[in-house]
Symmetry: C2
Subunit: 263 residues, 2 copies
Amino acid sequence: MNIGESGFGPGAAGPLIRKIRRFVHLSVQAEKALAALEGRRRAVAPHTRLIEQEQRYDHLSVLIQGSAIRYKLLPDGRRQVVNFVLPGDIIGLRGCVFEQAFYSVTTLEACVVSPLEPNEIQDFVGTHPSLGAAVFWVTALEHTRLTERLVTLRRRSAQHRVAYLLLDLHERLEWVGLAGNGVFVLPVTQELIADTIGLSLVHVSRTLRRLQTGGLVSLSRRAVHIRDIDELAHLADYRFATRTRANLGLLPRSLFEFGSEVI
Amino acid sequence: MNIGESGFGPGAAGPLIRKIRRFVHLSVQAEKALAALEGRRRAVAPHTRLIEQEQRYDHLSVLIQGSAIRYKLLPDGRRQVVNFVLPGDIIGLRGCVFEQAFYSVTTLEACVVSPLEPNEIQDFVGTHPSLGAAVFWVTALEHTRLTERLVTLRRRSAQHRVAYLLLDLHERLEWVGLAGNGVFVLPVTQELIADTIGLSLVHVSRTLRRLQTGGLVSLSRRAVHIRDIDELAHLADYRFATRTRANLGLLPRSLFEFGSEVI
DNA sequence: CGTCAGGTTGAGGATGATCAACGAATGTGG
DNA sequence: CCACATTCGTTGATCATCCTCAACCTGACG
């Protein structure tokens, strides 16, 4: 059933499959279809804008390798990062529902994506209805995380926020095998962190410094090392999403059956 | 095609239909099914907890009349309101996807809901696949608004935040015909506002006072009157969601066709 | 060796939190 | 209809967090 586990090379299990597998049991059939999708690879240069806010767009793809951000430029010129796009995330899905983009998407580094032509998705999901279900599920997961962030980041101190973001990134990268034991590689700058959690660059710097001298984390140029995940999680009141178990039993079969192995 | 427009009495077009109609064109078929759903009415007493955070749940319903909040109690005892539940909103939808609730839902006043048995939804959406599409669309809309709030509320002053919340509520109520010209009825207390936008009660009080003495808004016990919507919107940098037009053309027909009148 | 992006550190100031007390409105029971 | 309780709102004073401005440092890279 596993076509390959190590890395995301062609023919290996892609990050989207890995992520979904983490929570729901995929049928062989569904995995095959997804693998076919993730098999396509297109390189994207660093700092390329994939989607532009306020614009019509039809770019739809799965991020396979690298990282990107969804962000919005506010009228006063400041930038607010909505969230990080990590391998296994779908880019431009909301474009299926709304005409205009609400925010821009830009790659942070050299990336690999699996593109999907807009009209193609009709046949694709039409042939494999279970994939529509998977997409729905992924959407729900993202919504949940967004809410959690909304709740958690408000009214909490700078330390809380920074810690939370690091743990959030770590967990999401861990889902797709790109993080473990507190270590992950990501080109996060302090400015990026600031724009994400809504603090000034300066204050993020100070906060990180305190966390680092406290021995809790260490950041290098492009890697993050959380020395003691549990302690940091305690500090940030971070709940790992292991409890985010799927409960697809209640869902209409027409939308949510995964081949023969209904969850 | 319109079964009735005034109020939400039995037989009239319910708030969910009205909301959806606002953005996508519903087929007669789909509207009938929705009307049947919204036809059921169950009264709920004020301050009744419909869903409890961290609990398994299967409560699924559409709010017809009244108001509620989705909130979360943080470990330190504070309450964070995720958002208001207004007529036309679906309660407990995420319970279809996840086993545990991420937050609680409590009525703010006497409410009327249209309940849906969890196993019943299978037949319901199974018989009318277009309703699954409608649900998907509503979900996307909510997700979008959540993101907007995340982006807008961070890094903005107390005035911005308060103004934003009032405009948000007004617009959503206006979708279902419960607000207009800046006036709507809702039992919002200042504590509720504070817990929603992440400010202290005291500071909300001061901010509201300034807005009121400035003649921009006026709050009575249970009604809100925005004197000059445009000016307040300008102050809060609020964008009305008229541009939130649906773009279902890209979607797989299997999920998203609304009867014969595909959008 | 200069440039530039990214990071560090200091000083002063503003926004909003907290504590506290008081006032107003609503509801309840007699 | 009144007295009381309770919830909701107002206002003042003090304090902490975080922002802004500003200067300087560091490493990468041409």
